[in-house]
């Protein structure tokens, strides 16, 4: 099953490599990974999506917690949560396709953020499956380039991951 694991960790050199190294060392899988400092510049927030059985996920959270740089770990998928991913997608946009891409982007609430005579670049935000759906709808023939940030997420309501 797919899990979104959020990690609050010291914003120290080498901290990220310890997390990434842990995943490869213990044969855990990484679907996506995002990391950036928080409002407190001494802390980084890392979000990793991974797929594994309950036992594997338990080991992942325990092993992450063991890392000295890691302050807190939470499996967001255990409770209600919000997830978002941002995608920028560059598309061939000529002839009839120009209007078609614009319509589809509107349906998905995407924005066209760069335009040339032959291309559109669409920015789209949402859960990962929404971004997948957009790609599927347009078909791969028009796609020139895709870049995705990976998933970020947090718990709904009052629950927070902080010191």
């Amino acid at each position: 099953m797919r899990h979104i694991i959020s990690v609050l960790m010291e914003n120290e050199p080498g901290a990220l490599s310890r997390v990434v190294g842990l995943f490869s060392q213990r044969n855990f899988n990484i679907e996506s990974l995002t990391v950036a400092p928080t409002e407190d510049s001494t802390l980084s927030r890392l979000t990793v999506t991974t797929i594994g059985s309950d036992r594997v996920i338990e080991q992942i959270t325990k092993q992450l917690n063991k890392l000295i740089d890691v302050v807190k770990v939470v499996d967001l998928t255990e409770g209600d949560h919000i997830e978002r991913e941002l995608m920028m997608i560059k598309l061939k946009a000529t002839g009839q396709m120009r209007a078609e891409i614009k319509r589809t982007a509107d349906i998905f609430r995407g924005q066209i953020i760069d335009v040339t005579p032959n291309t559109y670049t669409v920015q789209l935000t949402g859960a990962s499956d929404k971004l997948d759906a957009f790609i599927q709808t347009l078909g791969t023939t028009n796609i020139m380039e895709v870049v995705r940030t990976g998933v970020s997420g947090l718990s709904r309501g009052e629950k927070v991951l902080s010191l």
Partner: protein, 573 residues
């Protein structure tokens, strides 16, 4: 406040941490530190002949005392040579601080001479690592390194110091912190009382309990508490390879080591148990055999300081995260207070069963199938001559298993071996590290002619510092454990498992200024060994010829249950 250079701060911080000996090897990146070392006398440096030995010496000191050992190695090859020793300590959860030199900070990343990314290379085998970015941070980093290495589940910590951080002309205020707090690291100090109560309730209901205790009892200084609990419960105790000595080896309730080469009675008892109380053990693959067939009728209580060890391979029914000493103390208190007592008739009949198993196979080996001496006989003699009271530092292979099976350890911290990583070459430097810190104790290295040659150069260090350890080399002229597997699984095709061109170990020992002895007949063994141990201030190398065809038994059948064992070359359960 005192003004010290970075180099001086390194040495001073070690002194203030109470470090007496450090083990190391100098090099370009460490010259400032070695110069600071030269100008003081409180911290003694031991010059090894290979950095791997420095780490094993520091590691063995930690295994014998519970305090972190310290190794000092230079950048590049010095650091990479230390990796095997760091990994050895990591796998067995041994506290160690390894200080590595690094090229000057402005050269990092430029493939400078003797540059290695030590933080990167060591990352998978350290508990944590630090790279010094400012010389002022050296005291607090060293304090943190010791704190992390020794607390919680112990482990090795690397401190990487670029040469310019130790520059003798740059001076800084020095103050060694008394204590340190890390917001991201708070190891548990006690177990959950509710869980402990629940566990004891189950233990007192058990009809066929087994206490399965590992290295956590040794490093957690919980041997007394374990013994007290076992006595109160009249429960059988088995130790893992790492846990030997955690419970007195000659006590009636001790049923031997368990696992791949565990005793018949220990493995049988585990398989038939209805309750297993695991303390400071991690259900390693060399213990469980096939996990799907592991102890089918047992409820499992798992006490460990590391939550990640619990339910990693075997699901625990009652997990208890906490230090072994505290949890066992609380358990002892609960049993004493409890109105409920162990089910006497059930425990009595359980013991009857265990005694039957013990009588059937316990500790047997054949001496009539060869005219050569048996390695088991040598270990039994060693146990006799040293009265079961020596520090036994082992290498890795058949001799290690024979030592684990036939030396009766009555005290903790006396059996010192590389259990997790299985590092050949560990034994001799380990014995040196122990002997330097316990000069009045008997310290033995049990080894084979394969393992000993992996760090044989340390015979030179032994000469320099006069470290009178005794080497018991079980010479079977082959890599015995490899050969055993080849005999059992590869129709005796002995691919690369025999040792040709062995040196004359007696002459070799003598060349380094030591005493060499060769023993070929069992009749001569006792006299020779007694003589060796009577030479208190000499290092003695005993080269003992043993039966090259001997196998270690029992041996679990791969992927079977705990009770599926070969008991001899012809006999299976």
């Amino acid at each position: 406040m005192e003004q010290l250079s970075g180099a001086q701060m390194v040495i001073r911080a070690l002194r203030d941490e109470g470090v007496k000996h450090i083990y190391g090897y100098p090099g370009g990146a460490l010259l400032h530190i070695y110069d600071a070392l030269f100008q003081q006398e409180e911290v003694q440096h031991v010059l090894v002949r290979h950095e791997q030995a420095a780490t094993h010496m520091a590691d063995a000191y930690a295994r014998a005392t519970g305090k972190a050992g310290v190794a000092l190695v230079t950048s590049g090859p010095g650091a990479t040579n230390a990796i095997t020793g760091i990994a050895t300590a990591y796998m067995d959860s041994i506290p160690m601080v390894v200080i590595t030199g690094q090229v000057m900070s402005f050269l990092i990343g430029e493939d400078a001479f003797q540059e290695t990314d030590m933080i990167g290379v060591s990352r998978p085998v350290v508990k944590h690592s630090f790279s010094v970015q400012n010389p002022e941070d050296i005291p607090s980093i060293i304090k943190k390194a010791f704190h992390i290495a020794e607390s919680g589940r112990p482990g090795p910590v690397v401190v990487d110091i670029p040469k310019d951080m130790t520059n003798p002309t740059d001076r800084f205020n020095y103050e060694y912190p008394k204590s340190i707090k890390l917001r991201s690291y708070n190891p548990v100090s006690r177990g959950h009382s509710g869980q402990i109560k629940k566990a004891i309730d189950m233990v007192l209901d058990a009809r066929r309990p087994v206490i399965y205790a590992g290295g956590g009892v040794i490093m957690g200084d919980a041997s007394t508490e374990l013994t007290e609990l076992a006595k109160l419960l009249n429960a059988p105790v088995t130790n893992t390879l790492m846990g030997l000595g955690g419970y007195p080896g000659t006590d009636r309730q001790f049923i031997g080591m368990l696992g791949m080469h565990g005793s018949y009675e220990a493995n049988m008892a585990m398989h038939h148990a209805d309750l297993i109380l695991a303390v400071g053990a991690r259900f390693d693959d060399r213990v469980t055999n096939g996990v799907d067939k592991f102890c089918p009728t047992a409820k499992i209580i798992h006490v460990d300081i590391d939550p990640a060890s619990i339910s990693k391979t075997i699901q625990a029914d009652v997990p208890i995260v906490g230090p072994a000493k505290h949890v066992l103390q609380e358990m002892v208190g609960l049993v004493k207070e409890s109105k409920k007592q162990p089910v006497k008739e059930a425990i009595d009949s359980w013991w009857q069963q265990i005694e039957e198993w013990r009588a059937r196979h316990g500790g047997r080996y054949r001496t009539d199938d060869s005219d050569k001496m048996k390695p088991q006989q040598v270990i039994e003699m060693l146990s006799k001559v040293t009265k079961g009271d020596a520090y036994v530092c082992s290498d890795v292979g058949q001799h290690q298993m024979f030592a684990a099976q036939y030396y009766k350890f009555n005290k903790p911290n006396r059996w010192i071996n590389s259990g997790g990583l299985g590092t050949m070459g560990f034994g001799l430097p380990a014995a040196m590290g122990v002997k330097m810190n316990f000069p009045d104790e008997e310290v033995v290295c049990v080894t084979g002619e394969g393992s000993i040659q992996m760090n044989i150069q340390e015979l030179s260090t032994i000469s320099q510092y006069n470290i009178p350890v005794k080497v018991i080399c079980l010479n079977n002229q082959s890599l015995g454990m490899v050969r055993q597997w080849q005999d059992m699984n590869y129709e005796s095709r002995h691919s690369q498992s025999y040792m040709e061109s062995l040196p004359d170990f007696v002459k070799l020992a003598e060349a380094y200024g030591h005493v060499g002895m060769k023993v070929e007949k069992y009749e001569d063994l006792e006299a020779a060994m007694t003589e060796a141990f009577s030479l208190k201030d000499r290092m003695v190398f005993m080269d003992i010829s043993v039966d090259p065809f001997e196998h270690v038994y029992p041996m679990q059948v791969p992927r079977g249950s705990m009770r599926d064992m070969w008991l001899s070359k012809t006999e299976r359960t």
